[in-house]
Symmetry: C2
Amino acid sequence: MAEQDKPSKRVQPRIARRKDVAELAQVSPSTVSLVLNNTPGPRIPDATRQRIIDAANQLGYQPNAVARALVTGKTMTIGVVFHYIGNPFYDTASSWLNGAWSVFHPHEYRILLGEGDEEKPLAGLYRQRGVDGMLMLVPPTSPEDQDKELQFMIEADFPCCAIGARLKADIGDYVDTDNFGAAKMMTEKLIQAGHKRIMHITGPHLFNSSAMDRLNGYKQALKENGIEIDESLIRYGNYTGTMGEDLLNEAMDEGVKFTAIFAANASTAHFAIKLLRKRGLDVPKDVSITAIDRPYQNEPLDYELVTYQQDTYGIGKKAGELLLERIMSDEVLPSRNCYVEGTFIDGNTIHPV
Amino acid sequence: MAEQDKPSKRVQPRIARRKDVAELAQVSPSTVSLVLNNTPGPRIPDATRQRIIDAANQLGYQPNAVARALVTGKTMTIGVVFHYIGNPFYDTASSWLNGAWSVFHPHEYRILLGEGDEEKPLAGLYRQRGVDGMLMLVPPTSPEDQDKELQFMIEADFPCCAIGARLKADIGDYVDTDNFGAAKMMTEKLIQAGHKRIMHITGPHLFNSSAMDRLNGYKQALKENGIEIDESLIRYGNYTGTMGEDLLNEAMDEGVKFTAIFAANASTAHFAIKLLRKRGLDVPKDVSITAIDRPYQNEPLDYELVTYQQDTYGIGKKAGELLLERIMSDEVLPSRNCYVEGTFIDGNTIHPV
DNA sequence: CTGTTAGCGCTTTCAA
DNA sequence: TTGAAAGCGCTAACAG
C-alpha cells in the first residue's frame, strides 16, 4: 500500500514484479529467477516449476531488462551509429539495418539508434547506455577523424563493426562490398569494349574508404591493361549527382577528351547521362558509362545502367553476424575484413568503341 | 584490485564510475551526483564543485544510464514499433523516424527499435525494456487486432502515439495526413475537370485507417458533387502497384467504363498508368489520374502525377512532439488527433473531359 | 531443492 | 555543506 503512494496522477496498473510472482506461487523471489531463467544447476521439482510459470503467465510477468542489465552487465542492446550526417536515416541505411536486425532480433538483442552527433557519436552509447556492441555506418576513414572514444573502445576490445567505410587497418571488423574489385570490374567492362580514355568521377575519397577503393580499383584496371593514368580524366566528386554533373561539365568545357565514364555511384552516373544528353551527346553511342549501384529501381528509366549492385541487406546481415560472434565470444577475436558479393547488372550503356 | 579479478579474457580499460570520481575529487559519491546533476537543494561550494567537475572530465565519467534508469524509473528511451510487417524499415519509415528523432535527440531520448513481431509487438518494449513512450508506425486499425498489451498500456495511460493509422477512437495520440481531406481534394480535382465516372483503387481499408479514410474522402467528394457512388468503380486493393494493376485489368476486362482514376497511392497510380498504356490508352487524354503521394522523385518519369504529397518528416516530428509532451506531463492528457498538412502537387495527368 | 544475501551504480531523502 | 543509508529489480553465489 505505502509503496503505491508516490504522488503521481497516473494510476497505472502495476507491472508485475518478480516478487509478485513469488508471492502468488508461494516461493521466494530467487526461485522465480531460477525457474524462469532455466538456470542450469538446481533442479526445481516440476510442481513448483509449474506453479511459478502459471503465476508468471497470470500476472503477465516479464523480467525487467534494466535491473537485469545492471547486474549482468549486458544490456542486450546494439548501438547503431551513423557518423557525420545530419539525418541518421537514409535509404540504404534501411537495408543495412534490416540485415543487421535479421540477425539480432532472434537473439533478443534490440537496436538503439545512436547519437547522430558529430561531437560525441560514440561516448553516449558506449559509456552511458552500455550497449553490448556497436555497428558503425560509414564512419570516417582518416585516423584523425576517429574520435578518442573510438580509441578507448578499441583498447577495451569493445565489439564493434564498421559498414560502408573501414576504420584504421586491423581495428575492429569491417564489412562492405569489395569496392576495389567492383570498381576494377566496372572499369574493365569499358576497357573490354575498347575504351581507353575513361573518365572516373570519384566519391569523397579523402573521407570515405569506399570512394578511395573505387578510385584505386579504377587505376588498377587501367594499369593492368597498359593504359596510362591521365589525371585530367579523374574528377574528384563526392557521390552526389549534382557535384558529378558540375565536374563533368567542367571537364568538357576544358576540352578533355574521353569516350567512357566510370562513375563512382548511380546518382553520379545518372546526372552525367543527363548532362551528356543536354550537351547533345548520345549514351552509349558517344559515351559509354558504368557505375556502382543501381538507380532507384521502382521507376522506369530510359537507359539500363551497366553496373555492380551492392548487396546492402547482405552487408548488414554479415556485419550483424560478425558483431554477434564477437559479443558472444569470451576471447578477443582478430579483426576481420569481410566483403559481401554484389551482382553484376548488365545494361545498355556500353557501346564498343 | 579484487573487484577487477572477474575471470574475463577481455582486459578493458575500466569505464569510470561515480565512485572513481568521488575518490579523485576527495568527496563522497553522493556529492558527485549532487554536483553533476545540478540537484537544486544543497549548495555545494564552488571549489568542491569544480574539483568534482574536473575529476569527472579527467576520467571521462558519464553516469551509467542503466543504473540511473533503475532508480528513476525512466529509461530515456522511446520505443518505436512497426506493426505487422516483415521488415521493420522501409522508405517512408526513414523519414518518419527522422522527424521523431529531431525532437527526441535534443532531449537525450534515444530510439529503441521495436519487436517487429506479430506475436508480441509491444510487450517486450513496454514491460521488459521499460521505454518511456512508444511510437507506433502503422498499427492495425481494427480493435480486435490491437493486442492485449496495447489495452494494458492504454489503461495505464502509458504515453503512446500512432502514425499512419489511428487506433480506436480517442485512445492515445494519432498523427497523420488528413487522408479524408486529401482524398476528397484529389477526387474533386477530377470532378472539376468534368469527370463523373471516377474509379478508385483503394488501399487495405479493412486494416489500415488511412486507406479507409481515403475511400471515404473519395465517396464524400462524389456525394457533395451529386455523383452517385457506383460500387463497380471501387476496386479494393492494398497499396501495392501490382495488386492495383491486376484490379484495373480486371475492371477493364469486365467492361467497366470510366474516364478517370483516383489511386490510393503513387505506386498504384504508377502501375495503373503503365497498364493503361499497355492497353493502348493515353494518360491523361483517355484516362485522367490523381493519387496521394509522389513516386520516388530522384528519377525522371515521363508523366507528372497530380497528387497530394504527405509530409512524412513533419508527421514524425509532430508525433514526437505530442509524445514528448505526454511523457513530460504529470497529468493524463486527453487523446489528440492531429493532421499534418501536405502539399498539392500539380502535374499533367488530368485532362478535361 | 529452496531461501538468504550481497551487490550492480545510481538517486534521494535524512542526519550530521 | 556533505555523507550515510535505503532501495530500484534483478542475478548469482552460498547456505541451509
